[in-house]
């Protein structure tokens, strides 16, 4: 062990030794003051300068990235909203074609019904009974003075005739009313039909109105995006974030499905490619083969979704002619169907292999295990379930293409935003570190001056006395030698 008491000038008295050493060192430290200050300042600048530079560069890069992200986001939003608007227009066109195409026929039907109603209305107008021609004759006879028998008889005859005619006229009048009531009764189906037709027209118009309102909203959104407003950008960012998390969740669920699928076919694949071959120390060839089959199924699903125009990941497929696209869709579907069939067969084989292994282990067991015979139908349920799962899972995996597209699309925005945040955070930390280093240099310089405060005081007093002799009106700033250094360092620090 090294002797630590060698530095002690006064043996056994550490404090006194230190004091003596300090006093000896003080003039040396005072003499080295200028170079030491310069060194500390240089170290501060050497460290702080690059940190500040990198911080500025990171901030500039973050600004650029943010701008690029913004452009991409807005372009994506424009494309998406454009597609949405186009789809809405397609819907409106369909609506117009489907509903309003028959509008002239509807109008003609309405006019016909109205004409018919008008005609019937005219028919049912009340026809006043014709004034009896004999009224004037009765009036003339009425003016003849009474007492004349002839007149009396004529009047009686007339009375009889009137009664007869009245009865006849009344009957005619009643018949006419009955006829009109019948006509009016016949109005009812027309009115109902008219009411129904009008309601239908109103409904169609309302639906069209709703579509128009939706298009208006989308157009407004599109305009906002085209203008590149903060509101539109924020809305798009939120939408992308939501899409990202939703797609991640769905992909995680799909990964679970793929894992179940893998478990179903990994064992029987060892029957096909061998169980003893390894690709790496722990990765069996049969496991990789099973994984390849699952990935191929997912790829086929991707192509199927692409050719169905549900996803738009491959421009080459999107730009294919309809005939080619349809052919490709059928090819992908047939391959997927074949793979699903293979998986169902593999699932069955898995069940058989497990049963065989179980029988072997049972025969190797020390104590024979007599299991009660299970109901054959019950025993078949797991087998059937495995086969069904093996057949369905490839098709279920095919739908992964949809969340995958959302994930890829939104990952650009989310990743970009995360990078910007990271760059800004790093810039802040570097800036902070640079400032700390520069201020640490200043603190070190001040501490150094505190250590050699005695020689500095002596120097100041000496300078003050010599300056007082030469020019008593000199400013105090010029008296202290340390002040210009401080000023310089403060200027450099800023």
């Amino acid at each position: 062990m090294a002797d630590t008491s060698l530095w002690m000038i006064v043996p056994g008295n550490g404090a006194l030794s230190a004091l003596v050493l300090f006093v000896i060192a003080m003039p040396l430290l005072y003499a080295a003051r200028g170079p030491v200050h310069g060194l500390v300042r240089a170290v501060g600048h050497l460290t702080g300068g690059p940190l500040k530079l990198v911080s500025r560069w990171l901030l500039a890069a973050a600004r650029d990235m943010r701008e690029r992200n913004r452009q991409v986001l807005l372009a994506h939003g424009r494309e998406e909203t454009g597609q949405h608007i186009a789809r809405e227009f397609e819907r409106v066109a369909l609506l117009v074609r489907r509903d309003l195409e028959g509008y002239p026929a509807l109008q003609r039907r309405l006019l016909d019904e109205i004409t018919k109603v008008e005609e019937d209305y005219k028919k049912c107008g009340e026809v006043p009974p014709p004034p009896p021609e004999w009224v004037e004759a009765v009036e003339a006879i009425g003016r003849v003075k009474s007492g004349n028998e002839l007149v009396q008889r004529v009047l009686d005859e007339i009375n009889d005739s009137i009664k007869e005619i009245h009865a006849k006229t009344l009957a005619d009048y009643r018949n006419a009313y009955e006829e009109r009531h019948k006509i009016l009764n016949g109005f009812m189906p027309f009115w109902r039909s008219l009411d129904k037709t009008l309601a239908l027209a109103t409904e169609k118009m309302t639906s069209l109105n709703d579509q128009a309102a939706r298009i208006d909203a989308q157009i407004e959104k599109y305009e906002q995006i085209a203008k590149g407003t903060e509101k539109a950008e924020h809305a798009l960012t939120v939408s992308q974030l939501t899409q990202f998390f939703t797609a991640t969740l769905v992909l995680a669920i799909a990964a679970g499905g793929a894992l179940v699928n893998f478990k179903l076919i990994a064992l029987p694949m060892s029957e096909m490619v061998g169980a003893g071959d390894y690709l790496t120390a722990s990765l069996r060839t049969s496991d990789v083969a099973a994984l390849v089959i699952i990935f191929v199924e997912a790829t086929m699903g991707l192509f199927l979704m692409e050719t169905l125009r549900i996803t738009h990941l491959f421009p080459r497929i999107r730009n294919l002619s309809d005939v080619m696209r349809r052919r490709m869709m059928w090819v992908a579907f047939v391959l997927l169907l074949t793979l699903a069939g293979i998986e169902a067969a593999l699932a069955l084989m898995r069940d058989m292999l497990i049963a065989d292994k179980s029988a072997l282990l049972q025969s190797l067991a020390t104590v024979p295990q007599h299991q009660p015979a299970a109901d054959p139908w019950l025993a078949r349920i797991p087998t059937a379930g495995q086969m069904l799962l093996g057949f369905i899972l490839p098709f279920a995996l095919a739908f992964v293409a949809i969340p995958l597209e959302s994930f890829i699309g939104s990952a650009r925005t989310v990743g970009g935003a995360a990078l910007v945040l990271l760059a800004r955070g790093a810039a802040f930390v570097l800036r902070l570190a640079g400032n700390l280093v520069r201020n640490l240099a200043k603190v070190t310089i001040t501490l150094y001056d505190i250590v050699i405060v005695l020689p500095l005081l002596i120097e100041r007093m000496w300078k003050a006395s010599s300056a007082g002799k030469a020019s008593p009106a000199k400013k105090p700033e010029e008296e202290a030698p340390a002040l210009p250094d401080k000023k310089l360092s403060a200027r450099r620090g800023s």
Binding site: G274, Y278, I293, V296, M328, L360, S363
Partner: protein, 228 residues
């Protein structure tokens, strides 16, 4: 033009067929060349009083059959007066890579061992060293990545005068496990004999370059040994 478009779309479709048609057959070609198989050579002592323990040996063989995977190898040989001979191998098999075929082989193996247990007779001497040399030869021939010799014996070697076994043997990269090392009557009188016997074997086997030497008397610990 349409034909061209269809041809242009074929590479995309070809991805699937190529993966299945080309990649799968190629997979074994680019496989890890190191062997991951496990080869086990089991020596069953049939000499003297230990012959009555043979039933337990069958349990161990059954356990091994249940534990070994397709591609692994297993051989069971008896320890007699002179055991350095292929004739002493009762049953041996390298299990097929296909699980179904491997299961069939295991059933046949079990039957062979069962037959041996029924018909086995005791021998006058115990040549464990000869069995070890024969086992090492068998294991090295299999080319397995993991090699184990199980010695089902009391580890009391007794050789006739004509048999020479006092020379160095080679057990490089082989794990040797003594199973069911029962105590002899003399061991009960002086346990140092038992300890000394095991120590001697340890020195000899480790000196022969074995990767590990272990004694397992509780058969329940055998599974842990095989897993490691």
């Amino acid at each position: 033009m349409k034909k061209r478009a269809f041809l242009a779309s074929l590479p995309a479709m070809g991805l699937a067929t190529s993966t299945l048609g080309v990649l799968l057959p190629l997979l074994p070609g680019c496989a890890d060349q190191r062997s991951h198989a496990h080869a086990v050579y089991m020596l069953v002592d049939t000499s003297g009083t230990y012959a009555q323990e043979v039933d337990k040996a069958q349990l161990i063989v059954n356990f091994l059959l249940g534990s070994l995977n397709p591609g692994d190898s297993l051989a069971v040989a008896r320890v007699r007066s002179r055991s350095f001979s292929e004739k002493d191998i009762i049953a041996k098999a390298t299990f097929d890579n296909r699980p179904s075929q491997a299961n069939l082989q295991k059933r046949a193996f079990r039957d062979q061992v069962e037959n041996f247990v029924r018909t086995s007779r005791g021998s006058a001497y115990t040549d464990i060293t000869g069995g070890l040399i024969q086992g090492a030869l068998f294991l090295n021939e299999t080319g397995a990545g993991k090699k184990t010799i199980l010695i089902f014996s009391d580890m009391q070697e007794e050789l006739d005068k004509a048999t020479l076994r006092d020379f160095p043997i080679d057990l490089k990269n082989i794990r040797v496990v003594a199973v069911n090392v029962v105590k002899l009557k003399t061991d009960n009188i002086d346990p140092r004999r038992y300890m000394g016997r095991l120590e001697d074997w340890q020195k000899r086997i480790v000196g022969a370059g074995a990767s590990e030497w272990r004694v397992i008397n509780d058969l329940e610990h055998l599974d842990r040994m095989l897993e490691s």
